[in-house]
Symmetry: C2
Amino acid sequence: MHNQEQNQEQNQEIVLAKHPSGTVKADTFKFNTIDMPQCQDNEVLIKSLYISVDPGMRGFMDKGDDDAAGNKFKLNKPITSRTVAQVIDSKSQDFKQGDIVHGRFAWQKYQSVSTDHIAKVDPTLAPISTAVSMLGIPGLAAYFGMINIGQPKKGDTVVVSGAAGAVGSIAAQIARIKGCRVVGIAGTPQKIDYLEQDLGLDKGINYKQTDDMTAAIKAACPNGVDVFFDNVGGELFDAVFANINEHARIAICGQIADYNAKNPPQGPRPMHMLIKKSARMEGFVAYDFMEEFNDAKKQIGEWYNDGKITYKEHLIEGFEHIPAAFIGLFSGENIGKQMVKVADIEEF
Amino acid sequence: MHNQEQNQEQNQEIVLAKHPSGTVKADTFKFNTIDMPQCQDNEVLIKSLYISVDPGMRGFMDKGDDDAAGNKFKLNKPITSRTVAQVIDSKSQDFKQGDIVHGRFAWQKYQSVSTDHIAKVDPTLAPISTAVSMLGIPGLAAYFGMINIGQPKKGDTVVVSGAAGAVGSIAAQIARIKGCRVVGIAGTPQKIDYLEQDLGLDKGINYKQTDDMTAAIKAACPNGVDVFFDNVGGELFDAVFANINEHARIAICGQIADYNAKNPPQGPRPMHMLIKKSARMEGFVAYDFMEEFNDAKKQIGEWYNDGKITYKEHLIEGFEHIPAAFIGLFSGENIGKQMVKVADIEEF
């Protein structure tokens, strides 16, 4: 019965039509109608449910040599991103029809994937979509960036930029749990409400309504900034950086202000200040801490179930809206994790 | 007998005549003839022997709020720097006439200082002048920047800028001792010879005779750069930074290219690359590691006595040449530690 339904529905994919120059536009992507795949031994046929779009994917769209992890998207090949999916056919003993799984999958409605590349989602722990948000790479990036790099101590002042986003909102809450004064930066009144009311931060600053961000940070952080978790970069970075304390730790998680830049952005060199303050600036991705993933997920899950941490997802519905959801990340409208709901769970 | 001699010699000091704007010139300093001091209880009267001049002192000359450590020089007050001196009169049980001591003293030929601010030099360990070079703050900065921040592992590729200088020459040798491929950057043929012949580095690069430093670093570091110990900053930083490996450690020790800049220097923002490479950039001063000073001195002394590490001092003679020696630091002529010999040891 399911197979009939499946065959009636067309399979579709989204490929990289061209390397974007500067801002990503709709013509970066191309939709193809493709065959419904069959699964081979040790593969499962999966149906995409929630597809994640992340600012960091912007770098994978550029022309140039691939990185060590093989992240770069190739022309006329499907884009990939973290996805929650459901197994609808299985040629593996480890997965059965109906299982919810996650992994980095192609932007395809249906695909057959090796069981090496998928992991099960436990639907009893939290809503399944969190496997690509709070309990996925964004939550893990927040956790390791804040805990391992930021090393917040009770009483520290912590600033998080992009604080209403998928990563920033979790990072800021972890700092709050650790007993820090937490100041979040975001760009709409709704986001500031979210930071102060829902996330319980000490202060939200709307950078779009602030003329002198350096002064605003100074006012919000009378004891200076001990930890800076930066998702944004650019002049917002400079404003926070001007207020760092001795031995400050700066976790560079994202630079959304610069991802669409055609040329390497210029700015004040930070080195002199790093010496003056004996401060540390460290870039990272969640995968740097892969061996600690399970412990971190367990901790975040505990905080969530204890009501200490909350999350928000910004859902757009429909496979056809994936490019728009990605492009929308850079206009700063999403509160929480931006993702696309592609299909409902099926009952088997 | 000594007192007679002392009284015949005039005492002199050098004060900050004005805050320099941009490059330091002779008129930044003023010489005063002053009284010969008398020492009070728990003080010693000392005679300066070797006075250290260091690029990092440039920042202390600027107008503006003092830093936490109280380093800033004040108008019409004597400049201070690390100095090796001899006790010629003592009102302390802990020090006797003839003892060699070091500390951060005023640019005065004679001065009386509290015994709280001086430490004895052991003349049997190494030449006494090393108390402000290899076994002083420059050597300690090299040690902690390389060991604690750079964390070089056997087989790593390490690049040191300002490699023929007081700090860089020690840092580069420590990396060599740790089994790394070490590439040193300097700016004269004599310095390159020094790096390759005397310090035993794998490769010296004369940046003044190299058009494309990024390509030159790439050629000298076929496996990329794991540790970058930076004394220079500016475009030299950019050239090395373009070649860093995943998980690179960048110890920001000095930025001599920028110390005389009137405005905060601009350059390509490093954040994106830090994320891409999961790399770390950390500023520091030797005093961050004060609790480990004795262990580090012992280790450097052992390497020296085992012939594994060597040092060079660039001596200028005469108290009247201190300003010129300081100014000369920024023209890049000194090989090894720049200091001024002010007087000979006396026999008592």
